[in-house]
Symmetry: C2
Subunit: 219 residues, 2 copies
Amino acid sequence: MSGYIQEDIDPEELAHRTELASAIAGSVRDLIDATVRTEVGETDIAEARRLIAAATEILRKDQLPGPFGIRFNADGTKRSWGNAVLGRRNPIAPPVDIRHETEHSWLEVDLGPQYEGPAGLVHGGVLALVFDQLLGSTAEFQGVPGMTGTLTVRYRRGTPLGPIRGEARVDRVEGVKTFVTGTISVDGEVTAESEGIFILPRWARGEVPEAMRKSVGEG
Amino acid sequence: MSGYIQEDIDPEELAHRTELASAIAGSVRDLIDATVRTEVGETDIAEARRLIAAATEILRKDQLPGPFGIRFNADGTKRSWGNAVLGRRNPIAPPVDIRHETEHSWLEVDLGPQYEGPAGLVHGGVLALVFDQLLGSTAEFQGVPGMTGTLTVRYRRGTPLGPIRGEARVDRVEGVKTFVTGTISVDGEVTAESEGIFILPRWARGEVPEAMRKSVGEG
């Protein structure tokens, strides 16, 4: 599968690159927030655009030809820096940091104004996006990974923009299918719940490297 | 409902503000793409961050105190500029432009490297995000709007990053529930399908302004 890359970067160099990735993405996240909320006029917009174009030009001096893909390191860590939910170097990702316990996985994240759907509320589709990643990562951590087959989200009430908590656990495994359930809550009250069915792709059955079946975590 | 704002901006001024919003968000979208794919080192990252911080400071000179919300104009148009899918001034939105026909609604959008999930593929949750908006907008255009009650997405195969097409239609209406179905396809082949149930919130029944029930479109 193209885009899945095995690397061997020494820990110090990897830590350095991770710091740079987090720093640049963090700066762009601040800019995204400022853009959604800005009320400045024409002259300021023009000046901001000039600065942004200059920054873009610098970053474009050396670019990957396509998406980041998924990279595995010799130490068992995985990098999905382009991932729309987890991606450290992806400014559209909050990014979410998923924690894995023995029996369940969880996340806490603060969703800003760029994740809006109904006025003042998190976009229902953004919650689906978070669920897809949380449930999929939970299956992967439990050693029964797969691509999303079906994702169902039930919305109990609106979820205000701001801090949310997600939790998920594997409900059952049937052959190549893993059933995972989860919730998103605000201040201890569940606002949405989800079930995902994850299916190990045909190409991965029996031939997938151990690192891809169960990585030790996002690097 | 706070965040739903009735405005009356004259067409020329609105066109001007729309142009500015699209311009600044477009510049930030280019920067996001460059950030996900950049391979430049420490010195360049530092210089890019300095420029981005300067741009952010300019945009922060005059800011909305919170999310953009949803604004209705006297001419019947609606602005959801902070919306995570449609938002003209939201750099994380592609943005998607949904077209409404008599019987169905559709969209075409090119999804770049910031929407990645599995290597080289659109994040399954991003497809759910697009479906939620497409199906919800379809219900709204047909005059039977609602907040998402349940969203189900079935993934038939991976969807490569790049151009996708979405289509949706109202399947049926049962009381306050609207059932909408849709597909996403690449090169004419369906890669994912979805059903959404949209429920008119209690607070909106019988008291929602006509403009909120059926707007003439995104402005």
